[in-house]
């Protein structure tokens, strides 16, 4: 079932210089999609269009069968949550607690329910010890975890992560990625659109959409993409370490094509001795 349907979408910040050009794209319910491509290829613009922060110059966007327009905007914003790269730009509350509760207040959730929900989601992102702290006293990674709790607490259909982990340390990043995995297990209908430069992160998704100068040039599974070496070098993409390792080991004349873990590759190298 389609969850996002984009048809002939174009967007230009400056007239006649479109950043998104005639883009058509479908994303299914429950799908985990990574949007990759170099800076300025239109990924973040697309994310902003999806939540109605920008109005398309041309074309249409449908979210859960609702066309994104002024009339449906409020309805759609309930379904889509976005987490941006820089947590400082999205902190609203005076304390962590207030911040997580903010959207619930807007949705008129009863206080009792709100209190338990705030507790629950703070715990999910590992911030339950910080509920009464002010954002100024939190580190970047901690702020971002709060931002993710803010997004998830509304129980959205679609979660957009716009480089949400790029400012976190490795442990914090892994936390968030595990959290995303957990959310998907708990709610298989949650659609995730992740904008990322981290190819190892994209490796975990169901599908990678490669964007270049405002168009989607490729849409395939991660393993299909990593086999296309011409595309990888043409668009300056990184390879996940294991793929790079396998390519280099092939040069030694060892066949590791079907080995998918370090263990298996290691075994093959041992036989060499």
């Amino acid at each position: 079932m389609k969850c996002v349907s984009i048809k002939n979408l174009s967007y230009a910040y400056i007239k006649d210089r479109p950043v998104i050009k005639d883009l058509s794209l479908d994303i299914n319910k429950g799908e985990y999609v990574s949007l990759v491509g170099h800076n300025g290829c239109g990924k973040s613009t697309l994310a902003k269009l999806l939540v109605g922060l920008l109005i398309p110059s041309e074309g249409t966007i449908e979210i859960c069968d609702l066309e994104l327009n002024n009339k449906n905007l409020n309805e759609i914003r309930k379904k889509v949550a976005i987490v941006f790269q820089n947590p400082d730009n999205q902190f609203i509350g005076a304390t962590v607690e207030d911040d997580i509760a903010f959207s619930l207040e807007n949705m008129c959730v009863p206080r009792e329910k709100m209190l338990s929900l705030v507790q629950e989601y703070a715990k999910k992102v590992g911030m339950e010890q910080f509920l009464t702290k002010e954002p100024g006293y939190l580190s970047g990674g901690q702020k971002q975890r709060v931002a993710i709790a803010d997004a998830l607490i509304r129980n959205p259909e679609i979660l957009i992560l716009d480089e949400a982990t790029s400012m976190l340390d490795p442990a914090g990043k892994q936390d968030i990625l595990n959290l995303v995995k957990k959310m998907r297990l708990e709610n298989p209908n949650l659609t995730i659109i992740s904008i990322t430069h981290d190819i190892n992160e994209a490796y975990d998704s169901d599908r990678i959409i490669l964007m270049h100068e405002g168009v989607n040039v490729l849409s395939c599974t991660p393993s299909e993409l990593f086999e296309k070496t011409d595309i990888i070098s043409k668009y300056n993409l990184d390879l996940p370490f294991i793929i790079e390792l396998k390519t280099k080991i092939k040069e030694l004349g060892i066949d590791v094509k079907d080995s998918d873990s370090y263990e298996e590759i290691g075994e093959k190298l041992c036989k060499l001795k």
């Binding site: 170099h38 990674g141 400012m167 490795p170 300056n236 390792l245 040069e251 030694l252 041992c270 060499l272």
Partner: protein
């Protein structure tokens, strides 16, 4: 200029209910002319540490010596701090957010003018700095806000480089850039180092630590947990610091556990590993 940190402690909001000790009795030497990475998980004290280096934060106790400059909590001793900030300059995380001028060249010249350079000379030095970071002449008169993320960051770095500091500190210089943009910045850092500048990098990217740094300092809980070379760090047990082992070292360790003998201190990349494996055949 060598950096010598002795018994440095720093407490945020000291003597209030919210006080947090971010650095606890840190003593460190950071060598001249090398690339040193400072790593550690979020909240370990990395950013506090670099801000004490040029007196943006004054130590609660202890001192920092940078060449002949001293930073302590005694205000009288810190008179030359403006001079120090010209010798030890910090490029903060996402420096492009600090761009504000009408044109690229004016933005780069801003710091110079604060240091007393006349307009003409400031612009001349700004052009030189922009050339160093590889920003094309056609951009000089354009608004910095029209540039791409990677270009903006290079303009921001030019603003710092224009002051010609001896020591350049960069906090997460590649965060948020695409692979190509990251590579350009890292090559630039390498170039500055080759020209004689001491580089200090704060990073979460273990591949930067492995591929670009001579030394690495691990911060944990406001204390120095490790000091040494990257290969020493990654070949040892780092599980307690909550930092990532680079994928390469995960694989190298696995090979070792299988009885394949390797010279770990010489492995910095897949190619190094492959060439050692080749010799075995």
């Amino acid at each position: 200029m060598q950096i010598k940190i002795s018994n440095l402690s720093y407490t945020y909001l000291a003597k209030t209910p919210n006080e947090v000790e971010a650095l606890h009795n840190v003593s460190l030497d950071i060598p001249e002319g090398k690339i040193t990475s400072i790593i550690g998980h979020t909240g370990s004290g990395k950013s506090t540490l670099i801000q004490t280096l040029n007196g943006l934060l004054l130590p609660t106790s202890g001192e920092v010596r940078v060449g002949e400059f001293v930073v302590t909590n005694k205000k009288k001793k810190n008179k030359r701090i403006k001079e120090l900030r010209k010798s030890l300059a910090i490029v903060f995380q996402f420096p492009e957010y600090q761009l504000f001028e009408e044109t690229v060249e004016k933005d780069v010249a801003f710091g110079l003018k604060n240091y007393g350079y006349k307009e003409v000379e400031a612009i001349k030095l700004a052009h030189k700095a922009l050339e160093e970071v590889g920003i094309d002449k056609s951009f000089y008169k354009r608004s910095p806000f029209e540039l791409s993320g990677g270009e903006k960051r290079r303009v921001a770095i030019a603003g710092i480089i224009a002051l010609n500091p001896d020591i350049l500190v960069l906090d997460e210089p590649t965060a948020g850039l695409d692979p190509k943009g990251s590579k350009i910045i890292l090559n630039l850092i390498n170039k500055f180092n080759k020209e004689g500048k001491t580089i200090i990098l704060v990073t979460h990217d273990m591949n930067i630590v492995l591929n670009y740094s001579d030394f690495v300092i691990v911060m944990n809980d406001g204390k120095v947990a490790f000091e040494g070379t990257p290969s020493d760090l990654f070949s040892g047990d780092i599980s307690t610091y909550s930092i990532d082992v680079p994928e390469l070292f995960k694989f190298v360790k696995l090979l070792e556990s299988k009885g394949i003998k390797l010279d770990i201190s010489k492995i910095r990349s897949i190619d190094d590993l492959i060439s050692q494996l080749k010799e075995k055949r």
